[in-house]
Point group: C2
Chain length 361, copies 2
């Protein structure tokens, strides 16, 4: 314990080296004063221009903003952060950076944050809840003004922790009507139900599923529930549905497809819980000489770019990634700046019926 | 100015709400003391187990690590950060999250960092140097122990700023022999030169290039220089080479390809500076009814997953993304922990000759 009391004493000195509000280095970066001087106004006026809109006359505002641009002043730091007691940093924790599922939405999220003067820091969990908890605490410790998390399912302790720290949290990539957590997303179950109805309408009844790991992933569970619900509606046994659960990865999709097609009763359609698994299934079909969609149909979910790069193109569910990312940024910034409760927004997904889904006689 | 002095006074109170070292919430998360109690050792022993290796006997060490795992203790926080005066947070700033170019290497980087007890925070610049400068300052302000940046080319002021803050910086995705900045990467120019030699060996002389935006992107410039160098070596005019510069994006690749193929003198091979542009070119070739490789060959760079998902599969340069990410993590942690100079590592890329490159008579 002696060791630790020494460290605790040392700890109070840390902020002097790396202060939580890091003032710009005067030699390298322009200051608020530099901007004020260049624009011929007071620093308070510059501050008003950067922090609010409409309170400074058009001509002055324009002069200030021109000085900001010319000097390359970064309003995220120094005076602005002091004034607002904020860090202008938003954290997002996503399950993976390794495929494009979250990439496009996150890019839109970042663009909108940037327009509002916030910097985005991203962390990824490899779909492991323990890492998410660790990363949430890192981002809170680093002073994030707000957090974007994917989906609803996590230990209630984490929500308690975030509430106790008063860090606004918005969920994305999912929306469940009636769930109290603010979320900007779409109905994963309803979207997959709609795709399943289209699959049945194409004459298929022998369905198999390649799913992501369900534990801790409410998006995957909801999509699977969507398929089962429609089977039940149509008098098919939802529990007889073959489901292979595997981590989201092209090679895993390929392996799962091979397993399904080696069964005595081959499915006539393999529904994949996302496009990455479906791309793996398509690759494996080609390797096994199985014609898509003549011998087997394959469907995905997400409509990321590779859905249109594979041959034949993939039938999938289009998720409005950019709209979701941009709306989530606006909502989260609103929560941070007004200290208000978050408001949920449900976005609409849409079927994309392409050549990988064929008609079964 | 009155406004700001008030804020400055307030600012010193910020660390009490969000301390730079965020002690765990005792109600929600296990503490070092909990781990010590569970393992039947002192907290100092736990601390030694977590901070160093080899100084604690095997059996004790194992007991402590089992308690750490059972309780789900996160050594990133509390005692360990206090002891080391570090935040155990590493920042990486990449040009884009929107496609898979950096995804695989970054995932490996993160995995290795995690094994070493560090959390990764990522930021992306949309290939804009001004944003990179802003994000570097954000990550330094948030207390990152070290930074990973992509490529060499940036304002010298940024390197000065990082040196003045004593933040270790490692570069990746590029390696230039003789350049003093520590980097873990590969020779972009040499790799593209090797591919160009293979293209010439297939009988092509009518080459066109789809490049990324060259400004601020030394990887793209070096690759283009690699092509031009080999043309010169072979008595072809490097300045007559048609080059379309466009942002990395599938649709941009498609558009650039369409432009090249509408020219009177069609190229027999379109060399793309990365796989994303090449995938766009392949898509456009199909849309225009141009057979690949019979009528035109297409090559890429990176060997990301989509290189093998397109039909025909893409000839490209394989970048050892995972090896690079993992090695970069080890080197950067070494720099942070020893406060030593970084050591550069050059990795080898390799040609992947696939069906998209055909022989020209």
């Amino acid at each position: 314990m002696g060791v630790h009391s020494v460290f605790v004493k040392d700890a109070v000195r840390i902020p002097t080296r790396r202060a939580i509000v890091d003032l710009p280095d005067r030699q390298s970066f322009p200051t608020l004063t530099d901007v004020a001087r260049a624009a011929g106004v007071s620093t308070a006026t510059v501050s008003r221009c950067l922090n609010t809109s409409g309170k400074v006359s058009g001509a002055t505002r324009e002069r200030v903003m021109r000085a900001v641009e010319t000097l390359g002043y970064t309003p995220n730091f120094g005076a602005r952060a002091l004034a607002a007691k904020r860090t202008f940093t938003i954290g997002a924790i996503i399950p993976t950076m390794e495929n494009a599922i979250f990439a496009r939405g996150l890019q839109a999220f970042q663009e909108t944050l940037h327009d509002k003067g916030y910097t985005l820091l991203v962390s990824s969990t490899a779909y492991r809840p323990d890492r998410e908890a660790e990363q949430i605490r890192t981002l809170v410790a680093r002073g994030a003004d707000g957090l974007l998390l994917i989906g609803y399912e996590r230990d209630p302790e984490i929500y308690d922790f975030l509430r106790s720290r008063r860090v606004p949290v918005l969920l994305a990539w999912a929306h469940q009507t009636g769930n109290p957590h603010p979320a900007v997303g779409f109905d994963n179950r309803g979207a997959m139900a709609a795709l399943t109805r289209a699959v049945l309408a194409h004459g298929h009844t022998a369905i198999a599923v390649i799913s992501g790991i369900l534990r801790g992933n409410d998006r995957a569970s909801e999509r699977l529930a969507g398929i089962r619900g429609v089977l039940q509606e149509n008098g098919l046994d939802p529990h007889a549905l073959p489901v292979i659960e595997t981590a989201y990865d092209i090679d895993n999709g390929a392996r799962a497809f091979a397993t399904l097609m080696q069964a005595c009763d081959r499915p006539t359609v393999v529904m994949c819980v996302n496009d990455v698994l479906a791309a793996g299934a398509m690759q494996q079909a080609r390797a096994m000489g199985i014609a898509v969609p003549e011998e087997v149909s394959i469907t995905g979910f997400d409509d990321i770019e590779l859905a249109r790069l594979v041959t034949p193109q993939l039938t999938t569910v289009h998720v409005p990634h950019r709209q979701m990312g941009s709306l989530a940024a606006r909502e989260l910034v609103r929560m941070v700046e007004t200290k208000g409760e978050g408001v949920s927004h449900e976005l609409q997904s849409a079927l994309r019926l392409r050549a990988s889904l064929g008609r079964r006689g």
